[in-house]
Symmetry: C3
Subunit: 261 residues, 3 copies
Amino acid sequence: MSIITLTTDFGTGSPYVAAIKGVILSINPRATIVDLTHDIPPQDIRRGAVVLDDVAERFPDNTIHVVVVDPGVGTERAILYAQIGCQQYIVPDNGLLSRLARRTPPEKLIRLENPEYWLEPVSPTFQGRDIMAPVAAHLGLGIQPEQLGPLAESIGQLEWPQLRVAPGEIEGAVLEIDSFGNLVTNITTDALAGRPTDKRAHILIGEHETWGIYRTYSDQPRGTFIALVGSSNRVELAVVGGNAAAMLRAAVGEKVTVTWE
Amino acid sequence: MSIITLTTDFGTGSPYVAAIKGVILSINPRATIVDLTHDIPPQDIRRGAVVLDDVAERFPDNTIHVVVVDPGVGTERAILYAQIGCQQYIVPDNGLLSRLARRTPPEKLIRLENPEYWLEPVSPTFQGRDIMAPVAAHLGLGIQPEQLGPLAESIGQLEWPQLRVAPGEIEGAVLEIDSFGNLVTNITTDALAGRPTDKRAHILIGEHETWGIYRTYSDQPRGTFIALVGSSNRVELAVVGGNAAAMLRAAVGEKVTVTWE
Amino acid sequence: MSIITLTTDFGTGSPYVAAIKGVILSINPRATIVDLTHDIPPQDIRRGAVVLDDVAERFPDNTIHVVVVDPGVGTERAILYAQIGCQQYIVPDNGLLSRLARRTPPEKLIRLENPEYWLEPVSPTFQGRDIMAPVAAHLGLGIQPEQLGPLAESIGQLEWPQLRVAPGEIEGAVLEIDSFGNLVTNITTDALAGRPTDKRAHILIGEHETWGIYRTYSDQPRGTFIALVGSSNRVELAVVGGNAAAMLRAAVGEKVTVTWE
């Protein structure tokens, strides 16, 4: 049994997603296909990288994650097979793995160059359907990654906002905005370790400030702007019962500081 | 084989949904996971309760329905296992089962308090992933509900609009609006039993009126405002080929009366 | 093992879709259900027909495609079982198969009239749930199509824009707009065969023109309006890194010409 997840920027309901599923099931009818998400904003590689980093490792060992966020489709950019931790990935080599790889270096990197497992003729505009999908299906049937092509040496990188940790201050940034409008930062609980999270912690984003880092959305009255530790063990900024992104007019990349006197 | 459905307010395409699926499949790789819906408006418990009541019993016996519409996540509200009819539910105890329970009293109610089947450490902001998902997966593998925690005595209730049935008049309300803009009321075919549904029936919502309760959307010309018996055996208000909610500016909760002279 | 795909205009996240899945799994718990798309615009039979034509044949042989885009639900229009090529279809007879059938004539056409495989009582407003879903589930279990009802003679047709091919000119139309805003035309690579696709080819839509038919979206700088051969082997109009439909204010049906001097 094999589990294959799909992450794309095609939009939920896109027939392109259905085409990929059809191709996978034609080769491997017993594959369990799971939609990781198809709502990555068009060509937003950074968002894809963050989502993979958040979610992929929740899946069973050996899950195959196919990621089609691919503004360079049809150009010379490679398509990679990568094993990172206990998960497998099939991605265009454009930085999609660059967040995952910060935590765990890829163990096996292979360039998909062996057309034996592709769907011919390959459309230069839809290699997700014609290369990535059939390769994932064959991997699920048990072929070895080494059969897919030559070893690769490294993966594409993207610049990510740095977490600056000083004695009385941590400076980070908004990494993603979830569907409730909560602002998820790159400030981890590891970075907070040993520092008070009560009212002595002062959190600032743009002109908005709050004190204390809470446990749940319900620790303050409705409408209050709060900081809390979210489900990915990162500091999150929220408005209780509301949409922080809209109310604070905040965006991905915006600076967030936590200071202690 | 076990079937697990998911209902959330995370939005289709939310990576939080994918995280829940990953957790379930990590424990129970053969589970069949079905998205009931992820488009419950944020924190709209009432909508969640109506959708469950409409759809859950269409699934095979012993299906496990996981519902994460949970504005009180991380607070003292219980998480319940409930058996209602032939279906099983895992829900925060906030009223989500209150419509289903009007028709069929819950047979087995258990508070999820045994951490043995949880994913530790439990994030106080995402108990759907860390408590409800792993418990559902283990239930699908055959553990007994009694192993999950102590018996509970009752479920949380919500106020629902009453159906007032008098000799010449039925007064109800709009219960939900479907994706076509049809207004589904709480007026059941049972309430109509024995009364004429032809032109003698006068239906009123706000300032809009129509006569007769039809069988299909096609019984009148395009653009006509009509009443009909919908697929849940309830009176529904529709505009043929149009969107009744938009054209009538109607909302959930709005009063609907049917009168006979 | 049976694969059943679902195509509807209910909207992703509609509980009506979940009801259909519940009915299928109640009869055939081992069916693999795949969402082809639920985002057909309400009652847009033409869009449904185009999507089917694009995607259905990507699925394994004997896949059962259930299509519920059905403005005439409950009227006298038939519900058909059709075998076209190696795929099976269950559709209201309203033209949904009219594009597929241009390429491959249906081999077996049956009117669903035998209520033995239906879910009684059948709601006149939701035959997708009460007739089409249970019939698909039973087909997946191995009943013969001939058991479903009498043979039908023909399928409903829709008018489709003609492709006019002359020595120095091809005239077609926009057939669909994908989620990236790319304009997919009915001009096939077959129609282009033997003609130059370099700068000598002049493409015109409304007041917008471009020269040459490219291979990929990346063959020109960001923001450029280009023509290319898309993944369905049809000429596609795109704006590199942008949304052609929005930037050109183009719609389905709009005339597109390719001329050569």
